[in-house]
Amino acid sequence: MRLSLLTAAALVIATAAGAQTPVTARPAGATLIKNATVLTVTKGKLENTDVLLQNGKIAQVGKNLSAPAGAQVIDATGKYLMPGIVDPHSHTMVDAINEGSLSVTSMVRIRDVLNPTDINIYRQLAGGVTTINILHGSANTIGGQNALVKLKYGRDVDAMLFPGAMPGIKFALGENVTQKNGQTAAQATGRPLRYPSTRMGQEEVLRDAFMRARDYKASWDDYNAKVAKGDKTVVAPDRDLELEPLVEVLEGKRFVHAHSYRGDEMLMLLNVAKEFGFTVKTLQHGLEGYKIASEIAQAGTGLSTFADEWSYKVEAYDAIPYNTAILLHHGVVATVNSDSDERARRLNIDAAKMMRYGGLTEEEALKTITYNGAVQMGVEKRVGSIEVGKDADVVIWSGDPLSVYSSAETTFIDGEIFFDIKRDQAMRDQMAKERASLEAADRRRVTPVVP
């Protein structure tokens, strides 16, 4: 069936408008996917291949696999199987994105405001996405702590957090932080502008924060040394939730994901990081990354960008769609991200654009939305490709996922189905019935007796 992408997206929106009931039956039994074109992403394209999902993992990949007793068997003849998409930059499923009141809000945690019932989770599953990196907004230089999440729609927050993932934090540079775009209006209303209002100030905020973090660490080291010496009267320093995560950054225990656009500001951050002895894990957006590709590669930093989204503000004017390809050719781990509930549903198309711009191979293009994202989040041993032993986060597509005519049909996470296009149809009927009965009950309601 030739289903245009737009139609597919529209259907998903319509359906998902109220879907709340979990789609899945658990626990995950074994599933054998037969005769698919398997896009492993790391080990080539395997035609007419079977994949066995068992105990939440990819158990076997090969030809003519036999199904274990009780396993569900799916005939995927003519269909494609690819790893679940990893979106390195998302603001889905949160009740708040920015705590922009201060220049440094490292104490705030996306984990605290996750909304596991957000309908956009379901919509993204329908676009083949299984893991998203939920970041704080870009209102301030040092933003909040991010959360890496598997889109297990219908489960609670704890079940959705990516187990064992390294924590991270959002930084932001450039115009969003200086508030240049909002300055006139802010001045008109008499509100004071928050420091800093220049890129110079941003560098100072970073350096100041990490110097305070060093001092804070020293106060604890001092305390621990006294305790070790047997001092029983010493009172522990007050815990500082702002500085604790920055100490973790200094100790290499927390990733930095930095919103940035211009080459000069990215270099500034890489220099500050070098000065304080940590590595920036990813530059987010990084539209001018191609200008400093070697420097980024040398710093061991990744970059996550848009496929072809630019010129929406001054710092985004110098973008080119070849950014991703140039970065990859310089050895930078580069990815394409959504930064959008809507774009997240069609990241496969954004990956396909990377073949048009810069001539990436099919596998390189797919990597920008799967394996490379897993590397950027430090979970490449768990997800991002179809390999035996990895998490069973896989998606059956109706055709080649790099075609606009294909759509995701079944999305597995840890071997469980969280989206299935046929179940989706059935749920639409269920929901229509529920709505009808609720509306009837709502109208039937007895009007309270007023004395």
Binding site: L102, T117, N176, G182, R239, S340
Partner: protein, 572 residues
């Protein structure tokens, strides 16, 4: 009729200045003990003592503010005023388990004053003073604000609650994040001090970001501010203890009234009442309580049934809001309501019976409702939806007394307990309150002023134009106010989403955020504005965009405040 005659006489005496009130605000229609008889007997009444089976025909004797006798064979003493209770039912005085009753109106105009949870009979009687004296922390983050210092009701403060049969309330002094230390008060008394039954009862946490725009202005910051304050309080306790033990040679630690106030909370001597309605909000509240080993009570609890197993396992009671969601007015071309919103409205009256089935303890609270007749009407709807009448009465009497730690003196009709009584014509849930006794004194019942929308000024469906750098965007905002919280949806040209981080003050100033779609990206838009009558306007901030504006109106004002009274508004 005997009761009415008696009351009229009493009120005339009051009005004629027989009782010269030194503190008019605290009189609240209750006669002063020394001037009126303080012995009453309600005879021939049906009595629902809650502590035991109903007595079909019996007498309750009140002496000096205390229940002196109760039963089928109890005799009216010779010195008692006799009230013929034929056709009447006597219940323990109803308890509103969470309210903002009893604060002076003047405070509402001061900076930072909350909308209060619920506009009361008089529009402006909510609010609290500008803040705690000598506090080191901003308004909204002052756990030391105490009801006992601030309760000072206006003359008409309790007429609404009295008309709903409410005699006793837990009252919370402030709004914001740390809302302060509550007190159980009787709704009326010779003086403010005489009204206090127990204080402090609990610390209250509201999770509402600060409207000032300062930190924290989002739910993200609310949690980190709570966490840091509690950590600071732990550290403060340790520092103070170390200094007390060995003051010589050590620098004296600074006194911080906020951290001082949290010591009994950390020591589990008093519970923390956390406002949480949706399942995820309840989970977050429970997580926070667990992190700091706090005794927690959930207030609001709209989706508590979805967390029932955990609430039961952790023995957490729920104060169920009787401010059920209202059906919004909708214009003909509006999108259909999200299924979740519809579901929440239909399911609200079923919550109490679901929690009963799950073994979760609960009591009823007003939830910031603005029309006091809704209080009993909505309690009645829980009975229509699976709760027994006995359970519903319990949730208004003995259950809140137990949860609030005053069951030794309130909550049932038993000899020796405080004589707070609610007397109705027929069944309680028919809502015909005939008579209320507060501390053994009869109180005149007056109907609530009609059309009061205080505390619900935002309710309704607003047609709004948002003007940003991308041009004019028509949207529909369906807003609902619960005390100082603002909830609802925004639909239209910016996409469809629930609003978050919403709060509103008594002056109509509000702030909320919503996820919007702009230029293909998902952005968080912060709406800051004011509501005046049927006009809404303000500014919109989106990171990376020039500040925008929005303005609109409420085409049909029928949805506000009294929306559930009378005929429900027609939908579509």
């Amino acid at each position: 009729m005997q009761i009415r005659r008696f009351l009229t006489g009493a009120m005339l005496a009051f009005a004629a200045g027989v009782v010269a009130p030194p503190l008019l605000g605290a009189q609240i229609g209750v006669q002063r003990e020394r001037n009126v008889p303080n012995v009453y007997a309600i005879t021939n009444a049906r009595i629902v003592p809650v502590s035991g089976p109903a007595i079909e025909r019996g007498t309750v004797v009140i002496r000096n503010g205390v229940i002196a006798a109760v039963g089928a064979s109890a005799q009216a003493p010779a010195d008692a005023r006799i009230i013929d209770g034929t056709g009447l039912t006597v219940y323990p005085g109803l308890i509103d388990a969470n309210s903002s009753l009893g604060y002076p109106a003047a405070a509402a105009t001061q900076a930072g004053a909350p909308a209060g949870r619920g506009g009361r009979g008089a529009p402006a009687q909510q609010g609290a003073p500008a803040g705690a004296p000598n506090s080191l922390r901003p308004i909204g983050l002052q756990p030391e604000i105490a009801a006992i210092d601030l309760v000072h009701p206006d003359a008409d403060a309790f007429s609404g609650p009295h008309s709903a049969g409410i005699t006793t309330a837990l009252t919370v002094p402030s709004s914001g994040i740390f809302k302060g230390l509550s007190a159980v008060i009787t709704l009326g008394g010779a003086s403010t001090q005489a009204m206090i039954i127990k204080a402090p009862v609990a610390e209250h946490i509201g999770f509402t970001p600060l409207r000032s725009g300062g930190y924290p202005n989002s739910l993200l910051g609310v949690f980190s501010a709570l966490r840091q304050t509690l950590l600071d309080a732990q550290h403060y306790g340790a520092e103070q203890a170390a200094y007390a033990k060995n003051p010589r040679g050590a620098r004296r630690p600074e006194i911080d009234p906020s951290l001082e106030a949290l010591q009994p909370v950390l020591a589990r001597q008093i519970p923390v009442v956390m406002e949480a309605s949706q399942a995820r909000e309840i989970e977050r509240a429970l997580d926070l309580a667990k992190e700091f080993n706090l005794r927690v009570v959930i207030a609001g609890g709209e989706e508590a049934d979805q967390v029932a197993a955990r609430l039961k396992a952790e023995n957490v009671p729920v104060l169920i809001s009787l401010n059920f969601p209202r059906r919004p007015t909708a214009s003909a071309d509006a999108d259909p309501e999200p299924l979740r919103v519809l579901r929440a409205r239909v399911e609200a009256p079923k919550l109490a019976s679901k929690l009963t089935a799950a073994g979760v303890r609960f009591a009823f609270e007003d939830g910031g409702l603005t029309t006091w007749s809704d209080f009993l009407a909505n309690a009645g709807r829980t009975v229509e939806n699976g709760l027994t009448s006995e359970q519903a009465v319990r949730a208004l009497t003995a259950a809140p007394a137990e949860i609030l730690g005053v069951s030794d003196r309130l909550g049932t009709i038993e000899t020796g307990k405080i004589a707070n009584l609610t007397v109705t014509r027929g069944d309680l849930f028919a809502g015909r309150v005939a008579h209320v006794f507060v501390d053994g004194n009869p109180v005149e019942i007056r109907a609530q002023a009609a059309g009061s929308t205080a505390g619900a000024m935002a309710n309704g469906t607003w047609t709004v134009t948002v003007t940003m750098d991308e041009g004019d965007k028509p949207v529909t905002m369906a807003l609902e106010q619960f005390g100082d919280q603002l909830r609802g949806t925004i639909q239209g040209a910016l996409g469809n989403s629930q609003i978050s981080n919403g709060s509103i003050g008594a002056d109509g100033a509000f702030r909320f955020t919503a996820s919007v779609t702009m230029g293909g990206s998902t952005e968080e838009a912060a709406f800051t504005g004011t509501i005046a009558g049927n006009v809404i306007r303000g500014t919109v901030g989106v990171v990376g965009h020039p500040q925008g504006t929005f303005a609109g109106q409420r085409p049909d004002a029928a949805g506000q405040g009294a929306g559930r009274r009378g005929r429900p508004p027609v939908q579509r």
